[in-house]
Structure formats: C-alpha cells, structure tokens
C-alpha cells in the first residue's frame, strides 16, 4: 500500500482527533447484508422508522418519509421491526442483499 502522500506520525494531531462530521464522507452501508425495502403504497407516514433508525438513514421531506439512504443504512432491520403496519400490508420488509 502506498502511504507516501499521507502525514507521518509527527505531523498528525495527537490522539486520533479529526474535524467534526467526518461520517458524511464515508458510505457506511457497504457491508449491509439485509436491505429494507420501503413500499410507499403501504406507508402510513407515522415516521416511527425515522425516529428509530440509528444511522439517520430514513429520508424525510416536508414531514413525509420519502425513502432510505442506502449509502448509510447498515441493514439492522430496526425500521422493519418497529414499523406498525399490518402483516398483509407491510410498508417495510427486509430482503437479502444480492452481492
């Protein structure tokens, strides 16, 4: 691995301190094994998934759920678990990622 252009240990700030907000620079959804699929037709817009998502990966626009940020969703399934829609009309279901 080429490391020539990166700072050496003397130049780096002490103790792994970086600027704030670095998570926006990385797509942390790459290692998801299950993906939540949102079905807009069945969604009752309760926003419980938005509240429960630990990765802020539920898109909301003008007070309404509009989709899922697959760049950052880690596929934990909490949105599916918490979604109160009935079994026959699920708004969120988990599907295995096809690699």
């Amino acid at each position: 691995m080429s490391e020539e252009n990166k700072p050496g240990w003397r130049e780096l700030p002490e103790g792994d301190v970086l600027e704030a907000g670095t998570a926006t620079k990385f797509n942390t959804g790459g290692w998801r094994s299950n993906r939540p699929i949102w079905n807009e037709k069945n969604c009752i817009q309760c926003l419980i998934c938005w509240i429960a998502c630990p990765d802020s990966s539920v898109y909301v626009k003008d007070g309404k759920m509009t989709g899922i940020d697959y760049d950052h969703c880690k596929g934990c399934g909490i949105c599916d678990k918490e979604c109160p829609t009935k079994a026959e009309k699920r708004a969120i279901v988990m599907e295995q990622e096809k690699k």
Binding site: M1, K6, L12, D16, V17
Partner: protein, 388 residues
C-alpha cells in the same frame, strides 16, 4: 502538613478528595471498593464538586471515563483484578486517544481459581496498553503517587492515562500513619487541567476516536510510543517539585543499600517494606544485601535499572505474577532484556512468589538471600513459598 491514620484505600480516597476531579465513574470490587465508596460519601456530603457516575460494570466505568476525559474533564476511577480485566477492552482506547485518566488500582490476583487477595497478575496483564504504571510500597506512597500521577498524566508532553497501584489488603486495608498536605497545597500542586480539545466545545467541534485503519492506526500507535518515551523525565521533574513541598523523595526506582551490595533483590510494592527489614538484619551480620525497588513499571526505566544492577554480582528478581512463558515473570524478563547490551551481565535468578495472597515473610526473603550465595546451584526460575 498533618499526620493521620489511614489505610491504603482511605489514603487514595483522601487524595481523590483533595484532587477534586470533574468526573469519577466506578464500580465497586474487593479490595478496591472502599476507594470509590469513601469517595462517593465525599460526593454525597458535598465535599467535592465531582460528577459521580455509578455505572453497571467496570467496562462501563472506563467507557464513561473515556467520554468524560474526551470532554476535557479531569477524570478518575478505581478498580482491581476482575474489574480491571473488564476494563481491558477500553484501556488502550484511553491511551490511544491520549486521555490522562487516573486510576487507583489495587493489585489482586486474577481468577481463576477465584481469589480476592494480592498478587500483581491483574496490573501486569495491563502492562502493554499504553498506561503509565506506578507501584506503591505503602499507604503514604499511594497517597503521594496519586497526587503526582495527576501532574504526570496531564503533562502536555505526556497526555497518557496512569494507574497508581497498591497491594490488595496488605496496603489497601492496613492502617498506618501518613502525612497529608493541606487541601490548598494539593490544589496549587496539581493546578488546573488544560485539555487541548473537548467534544463538548460546540464552537470547535471535533471527531475523537474515528475508525483508524491500515493507513493511520500505526501512526497513532507510534505517537503513544513517543509519548511514553517522554514520561520518565516528567516523572522525575514532578517528583522533584513534590520533594520540595513535602521532603519525600521519589524516583523511577528506589535503591536500598544497593550500591555496594554483593547480593540484591528486585521487587515492587509492599514486599519492599518487608525486604528492607531483612536487609537491615543481614547488614548487621556483615552480609552486604541490598534492593532495587521498581516504582515505575511502565514505561520501564530500563536504562537506570541496567546501570544500577549491572555491577551487582548476584541477584534475585521477585515477581508477584507469572507470565506462563517458560522464561520467568514479567519483571524478570524486562530486566534481563534491559541488561542484554551491558558488558557486565550479573548472575540473575527469578522467584515467582505470593500468588493469590500467599504471604511473603521475612524468612522467605532471608531464604532468597541465602540462595544467592550459591546462585550457580539454583534454577533460573524458582517458586517461593509454594508447596511441593
């Protein structure tokens, strides 16, 4: 300066009261319970300004300490044995993030078999986590070391977490007269903490402890190595200032009748007190016995130890824990390594002793000095006080 009767635990709690840290997060464990229990009483009585976090485990205690220290606070905790073991996962995070957390650690055997008494296996197992480790011989040293630890850990060249250890029950629960400073003197000595960054400073937001993979982890670990290499001069500076205030002198090591010794032992902690009595008795009989006491085990003061030990003809290294490596205890292997490049290599044998609180008596230490007279006939690694 006043003289008070305190156990080792009480002495450490008293030091904590005078230090008045911003945050203490701790979980009780024998024989260290009293340190944080007494301190919790100080919090309840309003004697300190500390935010006390009674967590659900030592893993959480050290995690809370890391968070509080990253917020810029002066942070302390106390633990022992299994409690320290439960912190192991977080200990290297504290050092990698350069958080000068102070820990009162009461040395106790690691289970199993389950045991609550003194040996050094818990602290020695934490020796490679980037923490400074300072051993105390008695309650006075425990008190003095706690105060000095704050200055050492928070020195801007250092910024490393520090554990001050006592020996379980032998120091932690035995009462002795100790000299303590006035509260204001302690306040003046330790000064204000000056944290370079704080996660609570929203005007200057930072990320602390981000994922650090192949491209940066190594550099951050190299920084810890560099910081460790600067610790010992700082310890000596702080000790000198402390001596001016108190008259009590500390170094990286303590020599006890060592310079002209024909036979020497090396030990840490409470055993050194017993050994001093034995050495005095042997000296009275004309036997040139001496001791090198290690006060600072991390970073290991290899240079001064090699310098002091290399002229001694025969010596025994006393280890209160074993490494199960077939090469002796951790103190023994460190010292042998320190002496490798010295032209004159003394004869040196190892004694593993006192595991699980097995008493080490004067007669045991006498037997070690006896053995040293015929060091060529001894095994390299010996088990002192075990039933054969």
């Amino acid at each position: 300066m006043q003289i008070v009767a305190k156990t080792g635990n009480e002495a450490m709690a008293e030091a904590m009261r005078q230090i008045n840290p911003d945050v203490v997060a701790a979980y009780p464990i024998t024989p260290a319970t009293e340190v944080v229990m007494i301190f919790a009483q100080y919090v309840a009585d309003g004697l300190v300004d500390t935010e006390y976090i009674p967590v659900e485990s030592e893993h959480s205690a050290m995690s809370a300490c890391v968070g509080a220290a990253a917020a810029g606070g002066r942070v302390m905790t106390g633990t022992s044995s299994q409690g320290l073991a439960l912190m192991y996962e977080i200990l290297p995070i504290a050092s990698a993030l350069r958080l000068p957390i102070i820990m009162a650690e009461v040395n106790r055997a690691l289970s199993g078999p389950i045991n609550i008494h003194c040996d050094h296996s818990d602290t020695m197992a934490a020796r490679d986590f980037g923490w400074i480790q300072i051993f105390s011989e008695n309650a006075q040293e425990a008190y003095d070391n706690m105060l000095q630890a704050v200055r050492i850990a928070e020195n801007t060249k250092v910024n490393l977490p520090t554990m001050v250890t006592t020996d379980g029950f032998i120091i932690s629960h035995c009462m002795e007269n100790i000299k303590i400073l006035e509260d204001q003197e302690v306040k003046d000595f330790i000064g204000e903490k000056n944290a370079p960054v704080s996660i609570l400073d929203t005007d200057h937001p930072v990320t602390i402890g981000a994922l650090d993979l192949q491209d940066y982890y190594f550099e951050h670990k190299r920084q810890v190595v560099d910081a460790m290499s600067k610790v010992n001069p700082v310890i000596l500076e702080v000790a000198e200032e402390f001596a001016k205030k108190t008259g009590r002198k500390y170094g990286l090591i303590e020599e006890y009748k060592l310079a002209d010794a024909d036979f020497a032992i090396v030990a840490l902690g409470s055993t050194c007190g017993t050994a001093k009595v034995v050495i005095d008795e042997l000296r009275a009989k004309g036997i040139k016995a001496g001791m090198l006491k290690i006060r600072v085990f991390r970073p290991f003061p290899a240079e001064i130890i090699a310098e002091k030990l290399s002229p001694i003809p025969a010596m025994a290294i006393l280890d209160r824990s074993d490494s199960y490596n077939g090469q002796g205890g951790p103190v023994f292997t460190e010292i042998r390594s320190a002496l490798y490049d010295k032209g004159k290599k003394p004869k040196m044998i190892n004694y593993i002793y006192g595991l699980g609180g097995r008493d080490i008596m004067q007669k045991d230490i006498q037997s070690v000095f006896n053995d040293l007279k015929e060091i060529d006939n001894k095994l390299q690694i010996n088990y002192l006080g075990v039933r054969e």
